[in-house]
Every structure is written in C-alpha cells, then in structure tokens.
C-alpha cells in the first residue's frame, strides 16, 4: 500500500505525454474541426475492434474445447475400446482444483 501511494503522484507529475496532449488538443480543435469526426469515428472503430477481439478471443477457446471433446471421445472410443487418453481425467482434476 505504502509503495503504491508513493509511486502514484510521481508517475503523474513526470508524465510528459499527458502535458503535451493537453496542449495540443485545443489547438487542433480550433484549426481542423473536421478531425473531430475522425476522432469520433476512430472511437467507434476502436470499440468495434474491441468487441471483435472479445468474440474472436472466446471463439478459439470454445472451438478448442469442442475439438478436445472429439479427441477425448477419440479414435479409441469410436472404434470400440476403452478410452486411452488422459485428457478427461486431467480435465476432471482441473475442475476439482478450480472448485
């Protein structure tokens, strides 16, 4: 706690980027107001990108899970012998640890 409190003010005081941006924004507003639209559109674009990222990030996990299930149901099971893979035991122990 003590460490993070002492660090916070130092970082904000010595942040050169925050100072330069605060100076530049009003200037650009005055000279090129059309760029505001660009900034807004960029904002929308960023939000869209963010949503896309979330979707694509979750999709591989679920796809992987589905593939794993197929692997676990596996050739051995499909062919008609006992399961040879450990994946389901491993998943069960993972679940237990999670709980």
């Amino acid at each position: 706690m003590a460490r993070s409190e002492s660090l916070l003010p130092v970082t904000s005081q010595h942040d050169p980027l925050s100072e330069s941006s605060s100076n530049s924004i009003p200037e650009t507003r005055r000279r090129k107001p059309t760029k505001v639209h660009l900034v807004v559109y960029s904002g929308f674009l960023l939000i869209a990108l963010y949503i896309t990222l979330i979707v694509t990030h979750t999709r591989p996990v679920s796809t992987k899970g589905a593939n794993d299930e197929k692997t676990v149901a596996s050739r051995a099971r499909l062919a008609g012998v006992s399961e040879k893979s450990n994946e389901h035991i491993w998943k069960m122990s993972d679940d237990r640890e999670g709980e």
Binding site: R75, E83, N86
Partner: protein, 556 residues
C-alpha cells in the same frame, strides 16, 4: 500446456521397464515361454504416440528383463481385423503347439475373435504368424453389441477334455464373461450360462481367469483344478480403467465361478485391485519353464497427449510380477517383481536410521532415478501403546490414501516412508509411505500410499494420491519395496499384498539432481527404518540382431 523441453522429456524414458523404441503401446498380448525364449506381444501403434492403427508388437527375452525387439507379429491385413489386431491370449495344446486367439476389429468395426498360429513351430523366435483361413471363428452372439465382445482368454481344459475360454462383454450396465467350449479352436459351443456377471460394473475387457494354489507358492497351469485350488477372475473395467480381481470357486461342470465374498466381487469399487495406481489391461501366463504365474500390466501415461506426441512415445509395461495367493490371509494375492530383475542390481548401500516425528533425512545414494529399495520399518511399542491405550484418540474410520490429503496429513503414527524422485529442496517429490491408524475396535490398521501431488511443477499432468489398506499380520514388520525407473515408480507394500504403480514427470528432480529422502511425518511416533538401496543397471532393450543377440544375458 507445460513447456517441456527435450532434456526433461529424454529423462522420462526408462532404463529397465519394457517399452518400444517409439510411439504408442497398450495391452500385453499372448505372453508365453517357447523353446528357451520368453515372448511378449503388445498392442502397438507404429505410426504415432497416441492410440490407433493397432498391430501386434513382438519382443523376446531369455529372462523377462533383457528384451530384444522383433518385427511385428501381426498387422491388420484382413477384413476381419482391418481396424486393428487387438488383444489376445496364447494357449499351448497337448502336443506343445501354440494357438493364439485375438480380437479383430473388422472393416465395419465389429469385434470378432480370430485364430492364428506360428507359421514355423520350429522357429524359437516365432517370427511369422498365420491367420486361420476360416476367420473369424467367433462373432458377437445375439444380444451382445458389436463393440462389446473382446479379448479372449487363454483356454483351459474341461473335465471332459474340451477347451474352454471366456470373453468379456456387457448387457446394459452388467459386466459379464461369456463362456465357449471348443475342441479345435475353429468351432465353438457357447454356454447359455455365464462364467460370472456383476451388475453396474459396465463393460468387462481383458478378462483373465486362472487357478492359484491354497498352500504352495508356485504357479499353476491354467487348466489345473482341485481341492487345493482357488480361482481368480480378473476383469478390466472399461468405465474406470481399473483392473479388479476376486477370489472364488470355479465349477467345471457348468463353467461358472462364484466369489468368496460377494461384497468385494469383480469390479465393485471397494473390491480388490492388482494395483492401486496406474495398471490396466493386465494378463497372466503360466511360465512352465520356472513353474510360476507371471503378471504383465500396461502402465499408461499420466501426462497429456500433447506431451506424449512431443516426446514421441507413450506407455510402459510394469516389471513382470509373480502372482500367488497369499497363503497367510487367503484373502488377497501377492505380487512381486520377477527374481530376474535383481540381475540389474549394481552397487548397494545399507542404512539403519531412527527418525523422530516430523523429520526428513537425506539418503546418500548418489543419483536416485534408477534404484531398487527394500525397507522395513518398526514403530516403538511405547508409541503404539500410547495411542491404543488412550481412549480419547478416536478410531480413524475414514482414512483413505486417495482423499485424506496425501502425505501432508499428519497422524499420530504416520505417514512415514520414502520421498523418491525428489530435488534437493523437495520442491518436487513423490512420497511412498505407510500410514498407520487406530482402526475399528482399536486395532492397528495400515495403509500403503503413494502421493504424486508434488511430483512435478508441470501443470499438464494428473497427480493423484494412490493407495489402499494393506494387511499386516501379528508379529510382522512393516515392509516396502520401491522400484524407481525414471518416470515410473512401482511400490510393493507388505511383500506385495498391496501394490501401487505411478507415473511421474519431475522437471527439476532429474538426472544428477534426483535425490532420495527418508521421512517421518507422524506427530507422535518414532520410526526405525532398516533399508538397502541398489543402483540399477539398464536392461539395454534394443532391436534383435541375429549376430549379436545369439548370446544374451543368461537367465537367473
């Protein structure tokens, strides 16, 4: 997945346990002794380190330890085994010739039984196998699923001179063993009655059936029967991948078997197991050369398939074990590594140490990744008397190796034993130990356990605590034997009454960094341990070369 590197993975290969040079292996098949050679066949995928494309691998040995790989014995080349040459068993006929019955997975994935025999009976190596032209000899009977009919046993003689086999199956959730009689192994007569069945145990595979002597310590040929004989039924539980056995009485007249104690019947979860660790699809054979029954067991991996693919191989076989009825308790089998394993013992060190409660002692044996330990432990009588004389100490009815917290659970009289495959700081260690409790009626109750939960820093490994109750009779000392061979640890409690095989994959406790410790994590008991540790040689298992291998290590 854990970031395994080649250094770690290379270390996992064993020095004296049977394994192919690469790829996947599972069940033992048709082990036998013929013209001076032990033959070992096994389920093998020549194409990958995961199950599939199963052929019969083949190796020979003079002593069950120094194996020489031979070409495949059988491959899927017929419609009746197109999807795999699966598990089978060998039978010696009266004239000394061999027949092999095995399960084939047909081109339509139906499980059928097939007959094969050696092409040249004069070849001691049994290199070539002929499949019977009339295969399949058995198909799933009415009422049995196409994928519920596999793994024929070695045949045994009936009193009227026929041969009899049993095959595992299920009806709904009831595990069953079907019975067939034959005179020529080509045509069969199915019994209406089953050898045995147990509800709610699921599919039985790799059924084994054999006699054990009530009085003698030697093995019996599969056809032996009589008043001094008990019969064992073993089945591998498809649902749980556990090998369960039970002791009972076989009735030749109708081909049935009845367990001594139905409450611990075949497949009942509280029933008897060959091994309380990782040990499956096992099979025995009668070694007529040395008059003993030998048990083979498939030891799978506890890591991930991805790791297996990375290391390029998967699975081991346990060191072959002699199996006999415990003539003292008459309620369990005794398994013990074959005597021949002792031929690998190199230099040894003997120790006698007294260790107090909460103590861990390093054992200076040098590198400890290929060792054989034989130990006996003694608890101080005063410590026992304190616990058993104190009514305030409650009976520990609920202790279980698997669920009671492993070796970190401290009781008055345990755990104590060895920490194997440990690094110097004990950040990785596998603990093999006894845990003694005050059992029912205040009688001593002893458990033999293996805790793998701290065996590795890797996260893609199953790390259970294994173990079970082990019978200790009055006047007996507590004894254990541990075989450590890189990624496999085989533990034998009380002379082999309870056995535990585990697979472990340390990341730091490897090569020269592998240490051995003796520990006593009991709260009240002082333990005296007398033990001997041998460094073990490699068995140098390699492909057979006609020039070099005509002279192999002599059998002991």
């Amino acid at each position: 997945a854990f970031a395994w590197n080649n250094t770690m993975l290379s270390w996992q290969r064993t020095a004296f346990h049977f394994q192919p040079e690469k790829n996947w292996m599972n069940d033992p098949d048709g082990p036998l002794f013929y013209k001076g050679w032990y033959h070992f066949f096994y389920q093998y995928n020549p194409n990958a380190a995961v199950w599939g494309d199963i052929v019969w691998g083949h190796a020979v040995s003079k002593d069950l330890i120094h194996w020489l790989h031979l070409p495949f014995a059988m491959v899927p080349d017929q419609w009746y085994d197109a999807n795999g040459v699966w598990t089978g068993s060998a039978t010696f006929l009266d004239d000394g010739s061999i027949v092999m019955l095995y399960t084939g997975s047909t081109d339509k994935f139906v499980q059928v039984q097939n007959l094969a025999y050696p092409e040249d009976p004069n070849d001691p190596l049994l290199l070539k196998w002929t499949k019977f032209s009339g295969n399949p000899v058995l198909e799933p009977p009415p009422g049995i699923g196409d994928k519920d009919f596999r793994d024929p046993t070695t045949a045994w003689k009936t009193s009227d001179g026929k041969w009899r086999i049993t095959i595992g199956s299920k009806i709904n959730r009831t595990g069953i063993s079907l019975v067939y009689d034959t005179v020529d192994f080509k045509t069969y007569e199915k019994h209406d009655i089953l050898l045995h069945q147990v509800p709610n145990t699921g599919m039985w595979e790799c059924v084994d059936f054999y006699p054990v002597s009530k009085t003698k310590h030697h093995g019996l040929d599969t056809s032996v029967n009589g008043p001094d004989v008990r019969h064992i039924v073993k089945a591998s539980m498809d649902d749980t991948r556990i090998d369960h056995y039970a002791i009972g009485t076989y009735y030749d007249s109708n081909g049935t078997w009845v367990p001594d104690n139905p409450s611990i019947d075949v497949g009942i979860s509280t029933g008897l197991r060959y091994d309380y660790g990782k040990f499956y699809a096992s099979k025995t054979f009668y070694d007529q050369h040395k008059g003993r029954r030998i048990l083979w067991g498939w030891i799978g991996e506890s890591d991930s398939e991805a790791a297996d693919v990375q290391k390029g191989w998967s699975s081991l076989q346990a060191i072959p074990r002699t199996v006999v009825l415990d003539t003292k308790t008459k309620k369990n089998l005794i398994q013990w590594p074959v005597k021949e394993i002792e031929s690998l013992r190199l230099r040894s060190k003997k120790f006698h140490k007294k260790i107090g409660p909460g103590t861990v002692v390093p054992v200076d044996v040098g590198p400890a990744d290929q060792i054989d330990i034989e130990a006996e432990f003694k608890l101080k009588n005063e410590d026992l008397e304190v616990i058993f004389g104190d009514d305030s100490v409650e009976d520990d009815k609920d202790f279980s190796c698997e669920t009671s917290g492993g070796a970190t659970l401290r009781g008055a009289l345990g755990p104590f034993g060895f920490s194997v495959l440990a690094d110097q700081s004990l950040s990785e260690q596998t603990l093999v130990y006894f845990y003694v409790t005050k059992g029912k009626d205040s009688k001593l109750k002893t458990f033999f356990c293996t805790d793998t939960s701290k065996s590795t820093m890797a996260n893609d490994v199953v790390k259970p605590v294994y173990g079970s109750f082990v019978p200790v009779l009055k006047g007996e000392k507590l004894t254990m034997r541990i075989l450590v061979d890189h990624s496999i640890v085989e533990g034998f409690g009380q002379g082999g009454r309870t056995c535990i095989t585990s697979r472990v994959y340390p990341t730091k406790a490897i090569y020269g960094a592998t240490k051995l410790f003796l520990f006593n994590n009991a709260t009240d008991a002082t333990v005296t341990a007398s033990f001997k540790v041998w460094q073990m040689n490699s068995a140098f298992i390699h492909p057979f070369s006609a020039v070099d291998d005509l002279v192999v290590p002599s059998s002991t």
